[in-house]
Amino acid sequence: MANLVIAEHDHGSLKAATLNVISAASVIGGEVHVLVAGHNAKAAAEAASQVAGVAKVLLADGDAHAHRLPENTAAQVVAAASAYSHILAPATPYGKAVAPRVAALLDKAQISDIIKVIDADTFMRPIYAGNAYATVKSSDSVKVLTVRGTAFAAAAKTGGSGVVENVSPIADSGVSTFVSAELVKSERPELAAAKIIVSGGRGLGSGEKYREVLTPLADKLGAAMGASRAAVDAGYVPNDYQVGQTGKIVAPDLYIAIGVSGAIQHLAGMKDSKVIVAINKDPDAPIFSVADYGLVADLFEAVPELASKL
């Protein structure tokens, strides 16, 4: 049987997370098909067909998918589901909204945030904010999975020669409508795909200081910018910046935590980074327990100095 990947896309192109899910599907084995449920989404479907390892793309193009409402995406997946042993989505807000809905409609369990494929029925996933890894085996005939992007290298964007097949789009569920979106525009790399992340916490004190102190450093490094929950809650930066158990999971080559104490919920989102730097004035801050390089200093002095000397 084949595996179906639910693509996350913006109709014109694939979101980076989709590439990691395609890799996970390839590890499971069997043909990899990708469902693009979108509106005027031919470009996204074509992009998916080029990805290494993809044999087929199902394009469901219709009004119902203009805003990627989970009720509609899930119904579209279920319409195609009978041909698949595994249905996979990224562990992003979109994937997490859709996958459990699909699973329940199929009367199957769903396995969240897999970080390793042991065999076709068995997967490893973090629990308790990543303080333990559970290996779980499913007795269901269809496995519905969400995939943690940082655990699977992105599939190459080219090299595939999948066929694009049009499938009839389902009708709108009628229970939910899109009203508006307030998306952060940024020239910086996507957090989840960035090589370097400069991340700030409550130690920055305000949104102005967050930007004034961290932006020059992030610019010098070509880095994405992240934050702790405390910094987001206090309104320094938008929700999209939050790294952690309940925010984004990242694993860049270099993660620089500035004025972040290192609560377990924050560590859950970044402790798989290759190199971690912590700058904090409290020598006992728990962030130092995971940092490869710790600098005990006042961030308002150390960070501008670091930016200027790079």
């Binding site: 989970p70 329940a104 629990i127 890894y133 779980v136 979106a181 402790k271 390089y293 710790g294």
Partner: protein, 249 residues
């Protein structure tokens, strides 16, 4: 409008759990248990809806061991009007919980179910969406703002890239994100009052639901530990390490 709020009893968020030596699970004996923080936010939101006049009755539901009564009392101390415990010692997985909740929804006919987006023990983030699917209702997940307007809920949801506002027809499911509200502390008089509120106990069989787990946990292990790092003396030393030792810049 009746509002149903499912609440889960979990290991307190301040506890760093330990994996059992035999790798069968995490050790939760003698560990502090609390209401899942996201469920607390759900209860608080329901109470605010009631205070605004949008909700008339709040029913808290919990599924699990007998001690979940404490979690329900806690929800009632925050402001839920009554509680339902679905008591079982069987390990409950999200699909089973969603089926139990569907049976309760069928009995109670609420117009809105507010759940936490995830429980901080299994980190599954599934139950609300599954319940929505089983009921054929709309879902607004990861909510950071909720407004009831006639027979719809206008909900701002946290998504990748920022915020998205959707309008969901009632009855509907809402799952809460951290920034929806800050739950109040239960005051002593309210804790006392909560002890007298109605709490009914059911068994999964009373609801006709099969809760047999679909997933078997084969093993639970410690994640790989990071090697301890070093403290550097100053910014110059940090730059030197990053350039010449770690070679990441």
């Amino acid at each position: 409008m009746k509002v149903l709020v499912p609440v889960k009893r979990v290991v307190d968020y301040n506890v760093k759990v330990r994996v059992k030596a035999d790798n069968s699970g995490v050790d939760i004996a003698n560990v502090k248990m609390s209401m899942n923080p996201f469920c607390e936010i759900a209860v608080e939101e329901a109470v605010r809806l009631k205070e605004k006049g949008a909700a008339t009755e709040i029913i808290a539901v919990s599924a699990g061991v007998a001690q979940c009564q404490e979690t329900l009392r806690n929800a009632m101390a925050i402001g839920a009007d009554r509680g339902i415990l679905i008591e079982t010692d069987v390990e409950l997985q999200p699909l089973a919980v969603a089926k139990l909740l569907k049976a309760v929804v069928d009995r109670e006919q609420p117009q809105l179910v507010i759940l936490g987006k995830q429980a901080i023990d299994d980190d599954a983030n599934q139950t609300g969406q599954m319940l929505a699917a089983l009921l054929g209702w709309g879902q607004a997940t990861f909510a950071s703002k909720v407004e009831i307007e006639g027979n719809t809920a206008k909900v701002t949801c946290e998504v990748d890239g920022g915020l998205e506002t959707i309008s969901v027809k009632l009855p509907a499911i809402i799952t809460t994100d951290l920034r929806l509200n800050e739950p109040r502390y239960a005051t002593l008089p309210n804790i006392m009052k909560a002890k007298k509120k109605q709490l009914d106990t059911l068994k999964p069989a009373d609801l006709g639901v099969d809760v047999t787990p679909r997933l078997t946990t084969l093993k639970v292990e410690e994640p790989p530990k990071r090697k301890g790092g070093v403290k550097v003396a100053d910014v110059a030393a940090l730059i030197d390490k990053l350039k010449n030792e770690a070679k990441v810049i």
